[in-house]
Amino acid sequence: MKTKRVAFLGLSIALAMILSFVESQIPALVAIPGIKVGLPNLVIVFLLYRISWKDAVIVSIIRTLLVSMLFGNIQMLTFSVAGAVLSLGSMILLKKTNWFSTITVSIVGGICHNIGQIVAAILWTQTAGIVTYLPVLLLSGTIAGAVIGLISGMLVEKLKKWRF
């Protein structure tokens, strides 16, 4: 691995972690578990489109592990991993098809993240009824994904000439 790549990935992970922290300081607008903007996904979607899906996976995994270790607990890790794996996996596949715009790919990522969280919550609490949160989380995932996709798309466009 080239030194430059190591430094770049380190920087990306640090940025994603800071965004996680910033987001955790924003009080929940809606009283439903799992609703978030997903600011760290700015970094992930940017990497996915501008660099490579492999770098996006590396940054996503390390960021999830570190944030859970620093500020959370093992249970939070389960939720984060479930969301991150589904979200990034779906975005990588959807991007590969080349059928949809960045915003749509990001929206599907947001929704899949929320579905992962619901599934983890159902298994964790052994309560199937949590599925009633699905409609709200579909909607919030769409809005959050659109915002992240829009900004990431703009970043990719603006930093087109930069060499990473």
Partner: protein, 120 residues
């Protein structure tokens, strides 16, 4: 953004709206709440009787007042999670308060409903 972008997003939103409508329309006035920890029923309280209850050996405190249940205290850390104390008041069937850290869920049931639904 192309046509198929809008078709996909539109479909997702339509599904969300339909599900939301179905859930909202089938809600009824609740009669009692059941507290489950890891899916096992640990307590059952009537919504028509005001009171404060310590749950799960003291990890959460649930209050029932004027037919509504809400969490007034919990011992969970906050980072990255919606706290159960912020989830508001519940009074209609299927409404719930989820305390993820303690694996605790408070769900409203109607007068004519039977046992708790369990996974697996």
């Amino acid at each position: 953004m192309k046509k198929r972008d809008f078709i996909l997003i539109g479909t997702i939103l339509a599904i969300a709206l339909l599900l939301w409508g179905a859930i909202e329309l089938t809600k009824e006035e609740g009669a009692y709440v059941i507290v489950t920890v890891e899916g096992k029923e640990v307590a059952k309280y009537s919504l028509s009787q005001d009171g404060e209850y310590e749950l799960n050996g003291g990890t959460n405190i649930l209050k029932i007042e004027n037919g509504e249940a809400f969490m007034i205290w919990a011992n969970c850390p906050t980072m990255g999670q919606t706290r159960c104390t912020h989830q508001g008041k519940i009074s209609k069937t299927t409404e719930k308060i989820v305390c993820q850290i303690n694996q605790l869920v408070v769900t409203v049931y109607g007068a004519d409903e039977g046992d708790v639904e369990l996974v697996g």
